[in-house]
Amino acid sequence: MSDSPLLRVSNLTVALHLEGGTSLPVRDVSFDVGASETVGLVGESGCGKSMTALSILRLIPKPPAEIVAGSVNLSDVDLLKLDSNGIRRVRGNRVAMIFQEPMTSLNPVYSCGEQIAEVLRLHSGLDRRRAWARAVEMLDRVQIPNAAERAREYPHQLSGGMRQRVMIAMAIACNPEVLIADEPTTALDVTIQREILALLDELQAQLGMGILHITHDLAVVSESAHRIVVMYAGQVVEEASVDQLFSAAAHPYSLGLLASRPELGARRSRLPVIEGRVPEPSQEVEGCRFRERCPFAVDRCTEEPPLLEVSNGHRARCWEFERVQREGEWPRVQ
């Protein structure tokens, strides 16, 4: 962990007001992203990770969703306290974002170059011609061949991997300090996935930006991330460096996630399953939110655990983390 983190999310809580009532899809979430650091935000779909990512730039749809508590500090500015003009100057400029669906995240009626140039004109104040030249340069930088020609093409003319590269070019156009990548490779083929991940690593080395990589797939971030934040049912349940997590996971849920990864050449014929269902965001659970599915649960779990310090930079939301670490394996399925 760096001394003064670039991006510090503290105690972020998001409420969702729907017809059925109000729920809290993000509860008291805190984590840091340092310069040149990649943080993986991992959890299954519906755990609130995308909502967290969108809340950082206040992109959540406002009538149903609302940020009710917490702060998001970029250097010394609280993004949640900025006025609408202020946050606009941060978006795409100091903090940029790429999304899961490269098919639909690009506007079909504007050429790729135009969409990249738009950010540059907006934030760097370049004129039309110079913005275009820079857009072509950016496309070249994300390793798109024939960048000058590709810039004139429309999103539907490109493959999925190419489109994601265009998205990345758009995101890094203004040299952002932080890049938020929301499932950037989920919709892509496995081979393309690797290329995109390698590209992100390379760009990080060149530009020194912090990356917040959101994914449901531990394997995706296991190589590129420095630290991993695991979310479950709206809460951070474990925060650790990659090594710490893989060698000594301290929360049963992380253990379950690790165990349900298929490993090449593993002898086990069946992958273990985490029994039971995730509590709904609206559902209030007494004590630990993972308790009902947890094989390690004890009486004390009816009392909600805080994030406990496991070791330096390793924290877990579990009373029994020592036992979890000792046993170190998700109980086998009978």
Binding site: C47, G48, K49, S50, M51, L54, P61
Partner: protein, 340 residues
């Protein structure tokens, strides 16, 4: 709630027939219209009930009326059909009874004549009330004719495919190339306008958009798994069409039907306004507006009230149609959904 509504609808049907049996003054309205009134007012209730039955069991059909616009539309439409049905009981004068040639003509609205009187001293309110029968009848029945034609053309084009389908859709395109009013004017120029002819003409010129809807619905449903499943089970094509394809395809069409009724009522009233539609002694709202257009300044009520009646009727059907369309269109419903 559901049972109560269904009971009301069902019990209204015999009531409809009882009212139509009577020998009340409406016989004076013109013999040609007798059967049409009977069919149209009676037709409305079965359609509502049939629609309730079509619905998949899991969805409660009255939920579709939770949208305020659909609810208000339904209230207006039902109220107007009741007015048409019970016209003899609601009028204060006979619609054809002429008043005193000097003292009763062009009387402004008063407590005795709620909407004033016309050039012959006839009570406008009573005429407007009776006019509802004509407008609703023509609207509902001609849309029904359109529906039958549209279902046949669209159903065949959607289910069969091939050259027949493309020929039928080309015909539909061709018919759509004419403004409907132009087709209608051409038709009334060629045939003499009796109520039956007007209904047929309106029906025959209005099926194209419905055919497209039916075809679209059929195509969409055909590609879903349960039709594949039915086909795999060896069900004969006509059974697939009737049991599986049509009910699902009909849902959006019912919303469109309500909108078409409103549109048809508008069109009919304009034909009547031009003097090319229905002829005396049938009373239609368009004719009433026509009779008042020369005295717009001196007897403003003659054109104003029938126009308001048309506006209310068409508004009712449009609200109903809009509300129903919003109710089944998932895009407009689930617009508010959480991310993540």
């Amino acid at each position: 709630m559901k049972r109560r509504l269904t009971t009301v609808a069902l019990s209204l049907m015999p009531l409809t027939l009882v009212c139509l049996r009577g020998s009340t003054p409406w016989r004076a309205l013109g013999r040609d219209l007798d059967w049409t009134i009977a069919v149209s007012t009676a037709l409305f209730w079965p359609v509502v009930v049939a629609w309730a039955i079509i619905q998949p069991r899991t969805q409660r059909w009255w939920r579709r009326f939770e949208d305020p616009s659909a609810r208000w539309g339904l209230v207006i439409v039902v109220a107007l059909h009741l007015v048409a049905l019970l016209a003899p009981a609601l009028v204060t004068h006979s619609p054809q009874a002429q008043g005193h040639p000097v003292f009763d003509r062009y009387l402004p609205p008063s407590t005795d004549h709620w909407m004033g009187t016309d050039v012959l001293g006839r009570d406008l309110y009573s005429r407007v009330v009776y006019g509802s029968r004509v407008s609703l009848t023509i609207g509902v029945i001609s849309v029904f004719v359109s529906l039958v034609l549209g279902t046949i053309v669209g159903g065949i084009a959607g289910y069969r495919g091939g050259w027949l389908a493309s020929a039928l859709m080309r015909l539909t395109d061709m018919m759509l190339a004419f403004p409907r009013l132009v087709l209608l004017l051409l038709a009334v120029a060629l045939f003499s306008p009796s109520p039956l002819v007007i209904i047929l003409i309106l029906g025959v010129t209005g099926w194209m958009s419905l055919a497209r809807l039916v075809r679209g619905g059929v195509l969409q449903v055909i590609s879903t798994e349960y039709v594949d499943a039915a086909r795999a089970l060896g069900l004969p094509p006509h059974r697939i069409l009737i049991r599986h394809v049509l009910p699902a395809a009909l849902l959006p069409i019912i919303a469109a039907l309500a909108l078409r009724v409103g549109n048809t009522i508008l069109t009919e009233s304009f034909l009547s306004y031009l003097g090319l539609g229905l002829q005396d002694p049938v009373v239609s709202w368009g004719m009433l507006i026509r009779s008042g257009r020369q005295t717009l300044l001196s007897a403003w009520w003659l054109s104003t009230f029938p126009g308001l009646a048309i506006l209310l009727t068409v508004l009712g059907y449009n609200l109903l149609g809009d509300g129903l369309r919003d109710a089944y269109d998932p895009r407009l419903r689930s617009a508010v959904r959480s991310e993540a």
